[in-house]
Structure formats: C-alpha cells, structure tokens
C-alpha cells in the first residue's frame, strides 16, 4: 500500500449568499444597518449556504481519483479548498507533496502579450519556475502547434489557438499532486484527443491526480477510483465503473422525470435507456463505440397501455445538431411491458467524436414519446481520414488503394 497523498476530514465550506450577490458597495451595507440594525445579522444567518458539508476522503500516492456530481454539488469548491484558493469553514486536510491546480485553461493570460510571453507568465502563475518553462518551452510550442504564431499577441489568436496554447502550458505543469477541473475538452476534436492522451500520460506517470469532469467517458478512461459528490456531501466512493455507473443511472432517471411535459399523467409509453450491444458487458463500453464495424444499438421501451398503429422513428445527430442518419417504421403494435428495440448496422462509419441518438414513438393520437437519448454516444474509432482537419468529412471510411499499371 502506498503512502497517503491527500487526507481530508470533515471539510465544510459555508458561503454567505447575500454577500456575493449584493453590489459590494459600502453604502448598501451601511444603509441596511441603519434601516434595520438587527436584520443585518438575521439575514446573514438565513442566507448561509453550505457548498460543502463534511467531506472526508483519502487519496493515495499515484492514484487518479475522479470527482463526479451535478453542477453546484461542490466539486469545484472541494478543489478550491485543496488547492488553497479558499479556506474551509470547518474540517481540515493534509496534503503531502507539492500541489498544482488547473481550474481553467489560460489562467493569467494577458491578451496584449505574445504567445511566448504568456507561456512564461501563465507558467509562473501556475507554479513553474522560469528555468522549467524555458526547458519545456519548445515542447509546449510544439504541442500547441503554434510555431509560426508564438511571437504574435494572443489577442490576435483564434479561440482554438488560444486554448491550445493555454492547455499546452498547463499540461506541462509537473507537480506531485495535480488537481484538474473540467479543462480537458478544448480545441477541435483532434486536439481534444491529444489533450486526453496527455492527461493519460499524466495519470500513468505515477502522479496523484484529482480530476473533475462532466464527461463521464473521460473519468472512466483516466481514473482508477471515483467519488460521487451530491449536495456537498460524499454520496458514493469506489471503483470508477461502479460509482460512475450509479451516478449515470441516477442522472438519466432524473432527467427522464424532470423533462417538461412528462411529469404527472402516466404516459402510454416511454423510452428508458439505450446501449451498444456487443462489446464487453462492462458499463464502460455501453455508450462507447470503438470501431466502424458491425454494431447493434438497442433501446428499452416501457409500454404502459397497448399501442396500435404505432410509428417509431430514430435519428442520429452530431453535437452540432447535424443530422447523420434517420429512419422510421410504421404499423407497429406493442403490448404493455418492456420491449427492446435493437438496430443492427453492418457498419457505422462515424468520425471520432460525440453523437446523440433521438428516438420517437407516435400513435393515432399523436406523439407518445420523443427521447433525446442520454448519455451521448462517444465514438473512439480510429480516424481513417485525411491527416488535415479541413479535409475531414462526415464519413469515417477505411479504404484500400490499389494501383496497377494497365498498359
């Protein structure tokens, strides 16, 4: 068993909601105090808000820990406490080793400075020494693919160039303990893959990493252990597939319940879930497609009262809402119960990025259910296309080229 790198005990953080939201003008504070001298205290007491409430955890050296949880559940607050940006209200933590934190890309970037100057400045703010940055400078520039523009002011950069440089600087930070918050998905899809690869290197280099992301696939890929934080407390700790699976299940059932127009009256039928059939039955690969070959995608449909003359539609969109493919079947009838609808494709030549399935069901009375399937489908198949981005199209088709001399 390796040594403990981070130990936290009962970490709590209380924010006074009113404070951050009022204008911050002395006048208001004084005016309120005059208007009702006693309410000043009452109000503060009423509007306290525990962003984090008694979080204890232990991270061992070399471990890569993923934090999952909804927006506002306290993940970032926890990272901010561990990286010393803010102090806990209660509880304590002990950190053994030098900490670096990445809460955003481009911390400390100044638009008027050149790429080179910003690399040094941002590096220094993140905790690198001048020597260290100078030593890694060429590597950083090469990673960001900005050789030609490194002496241009970053205000003239495209947003893609900006985040590439910012990530490259951050990725070359080498503390013993690294705290990362949702900064990975930057740039175009090819650069995102490169970032992920870099993070994988970091994870495998024996460093201790705490990693927050909403992209569950990233968590699955990078982390050996995960913590689910909900409403400021630890909801579940354990192996990544277990915790992420539980979180995902809770989220998609939540989403199904909270979608507008669904709550209340019982529906005739409702789509429940989807998965990719085949692969290993690990929850890991249920929504991840790693080849362009034969694939079966199945949807679970819960039917509450029988349906005649049903019409069922399916569509695949990319994240820019471009339609990739759609199909529909009519004259369907369903008895009450749970049904599986499985689509088999002899090949599914999709580019490596994320997609959304959409499934619908209609009957004579109109729309029964329209589901934007969750989670999204992540395609991680090899890219069989042109090496240059601008020549990457919609289809990801492997091919062979055969050249023969004919006369």
């Amino acid at each position: 068993m390796t040594a403990v790198a981070i130990q936290a005990d009962g970490l709590s953080k209380c924010y006074q909601r009113g404070m951050a939201q009022t204008s911050g003008l002395l006048r208001d504070t004084i005016a309120n105090a005059f208007r009702s001298p006693f309410r000043l205290f009452q109000r503060n007491r009423k509007e306290t808000f525990w962003a984090l409430n008694g979080v204890s955890l232990e991270v061992r050296e070399g471990e890569v820990l993923g934090l999952v949880g909804r927006n506002g559940s306290g993940k970032t607050t926890l990272l901010k406490i561990l990286s010393r940006i803010t102090r806990p209200t209660e509880g304590w933590a002990e950190i053994h080793g030098r900490v670096g934190s990445l809460l955003e890309v481009g911390t400390g970037f100044h638009p008027e400075l050149t790429g080179r100057e910003n690399a040094f400045l941002s590096g220094a703010i993140l905790g690198m020494t001048k020597q260290e940055i100078a030593r890694k400078f060429d590597e950083i520039v090469a990673f960001a693919e900005l050789e030609k523009f490194i002496d241009t002011a970053v205000k003239h950069y495209s947003s893609g160039m900006y985040v590439r440089l910012a990530f490259a600087v951050a990725a070359h930070l080498e503390p013993e303990i690294l705290l990362v918050d949702e900064v990975l998905a930057v740039g175009d899809i090819r650069f995102q893959k490169k970032c992920l690869g870099k993070m994988g290197d970091v994870a495998r280099s024996g460093r201790t990493v705490i990693f927050v992301s909403h992209q569950l696939n990233q968590i699955r890929r990078l982390c050996n252990r995960a913590v689910w934080i909900d409403a400021g407390t630890v909801s579940q700790v354990g192996s990544t597939p277990e915790v992420v699976g539980a979180y995902e299940a809770a989220m998609s059932s939540n989403d199904r319940q909270t979608e507008p127009g669904r709550s209340g009256a019982k529906q005739t039928a409702q789509f429940l879930s989807w998965k990719i059939v085949g692969g290993e039955e690990e929850s890991d690969s249920l929504h991840r497609l790693d080849s362009v070959g034969q694939t079966t995608v199945s949807f679970l449909l819960q039917v509450n009262s029988s349906i005649q003359h049903g019409q069922h539609g399916i569509a695949l969109f990319d994240l820019d809402r471009r339609l990739m493919w759609a199909y529909s079947t009519d004259g369907l009838s369903f008895d009450p119960g749970i049904h599986q609808l499985a689509y088999t494709f002899p090949f599914l030549p999709l580019c490596p990025k994320s997609y959304n399935w959409q499934v619908s069901l209609w009957d004579d009375t109109g729309n029964v259910d329209l589901w934007e399937a969750l989670p999204e489908m992540l395609v991680v198949a090899p890219n069989y296309q042109h090496a240059k981005d601008e020549w990457n199209g919609v289809l990801n088709l492997p091919c062979t080229l055969d050249i023969k001399r004919k006369g």
Binding site: I85, T86, R87, R98, E176, D201, G206
Partner: protein
Amino acid sequence: MASVTSNPPVANTLAGPPSARVTLRIEPPRRWFELRLEELWLYRELLYFLVWRDVKIRYKQTAIGISWVIIQPLLTMLVATLFFGRLAKLPSQGLPYSVFCFAAIVPWTYFSTALANVTSVMVDNQRVITKVYFPRLILPVSSALSGLVDFSIAFIVLLIFTFAHGIRPAWTLLLLPLFLLLAVSTVLGIGLWLSALNALYRDVKYLTPFLLQFWMLASPVYYSSSMVPERYRWIYGLNPMTGVIDGFRWGLTGTGHPPSSSMFASLGIVLLSVLGGLWFFNGMEVRIADRV
C-alpha cells in the same frame, strides 16, 4: 512526461529536495496573524514575472509608448512653472521654479500612480485570484515595484534637467534611495489597506482619487514646506510624503530642507502603517477569493 524525481528545478525551488515531501495543512482561517514570509521568498520568480507583465502591458497599444513616462511629468512641470512659478510667483528655495517642482513631481507621480495601482490590484486580478493559489501579498508588492521602472526613466530625465540648469549633484544624492524607499513603504503601508478594502467595497475605487488630491495639497509638491507656519509644521511633517519630497529636493540639489526630526515621526508612522497593513491584508487575504 518526466517523473517528479527527475525534475529537480521544481522540487528544488519550491519544495526542497525531492526526497523530502512537504506536508501542507489546510485549516479554517485562524484569528491570529499568520504571515508566511518564507513562502513569499519561494514565489519570488512570480513576483518578478508580475512586475515584468505590468511594465510590458502598461503602454501597449499606445502610439508613443514609454515616452508617456517622460511627457507626463514634463508637461505637468511646464504648466506648474507657468502658473505657480511665473504668475503666482511662489517661492522656490532659491532654485529655478521648474527644477523646484520637477524634483517633486517625479517622486509624487510615482507615489500617486503606484498607490492607485496597488489599490485596484486585487480587483484587476480577481480571475487569477479565484483560479490559482499563490501568496496574495505578491500582487500589491509587484504593483508597487513595477512603478519603479517608470520612475527610473523619469528620474534620469530629472537628473539631466537639473544638470542642464547648472546645478551640480552633491554627496546628498547618495541619500536619494533612502527617500525612495520611504515612498515605496508609504505606498505599501496605505496600499495594503486600500487594496484589501477595495476587494470588498468598490467604494474605495472612487475614494482614492480624492485621497490623492488632498494628499498632494498637503505635500510640498508645488510650494515650499517653509510656507507652512512654524507651529503647524510638526503636524505637516507627519505626512511621510513631506519627508520624501523635501528629501528629494535636498538630495538632488543640496539646498532646501534636510530631513528634520519630524521625519523620524513620519518614519514611525510609515512603519506602523506597513505593519498594520500587513496585518489587515493578511486577515482579509483568506476571504478575498470568496468575495472579490
């Protein structure tokens, strides 16, 4: 990527030898004073980079760039010489009025711009403050120091200007760094309070120009401190900028008021305000990221 142990520069500078892992304890803020000066030393390179950044960006996208550093005090001096020297005929301790006021405008310009910059530094850097940790004290210190670059350029012009008027530097010139140090300390002593307060109450931003205006009137920038009646002079001398400006004139030209006993009182005041400022800033530091 290299592993941590094969990476001496980081480990050596910031965490001691790689074998000795630093342990950091994170706890709720305590009431007492926790000044971590050794930490400030560890982050000295960041201090350097922040000063460098300030200097780099100050005159970016201006047509005449760094020339502003010279033009501003020169123009102020010309206008002051015209109105206060020629028209109002204010006494100037036997010096040409232009030299008399230029010798004050240069340190005063440093003081007023540096104090204004230090006041807003926590707000200007709020994005960084809420995203990464470093000793917050570095920000006001870097802001106070970066003004010294402008000052040095203006000071060279001042030296040339004095020399051109036939005034030869005396040995007292060697004492100028001490007066400069007093000016920097005053900026920090007052600036630490103002910058921490400004992070919580933006009112400070509106207050600072007034403060600087009154302060200028209460300092011998355009008039000689000998115009102040004798019996009020001890109060007048408590203003550290009186000592700084009189000291500058005296040091540069060898004439005028050498620092008097009231200077020591103002030294005491500066020392107290720096210590008090450190204490106050330190107390606010732990809350600034939550409230800025």
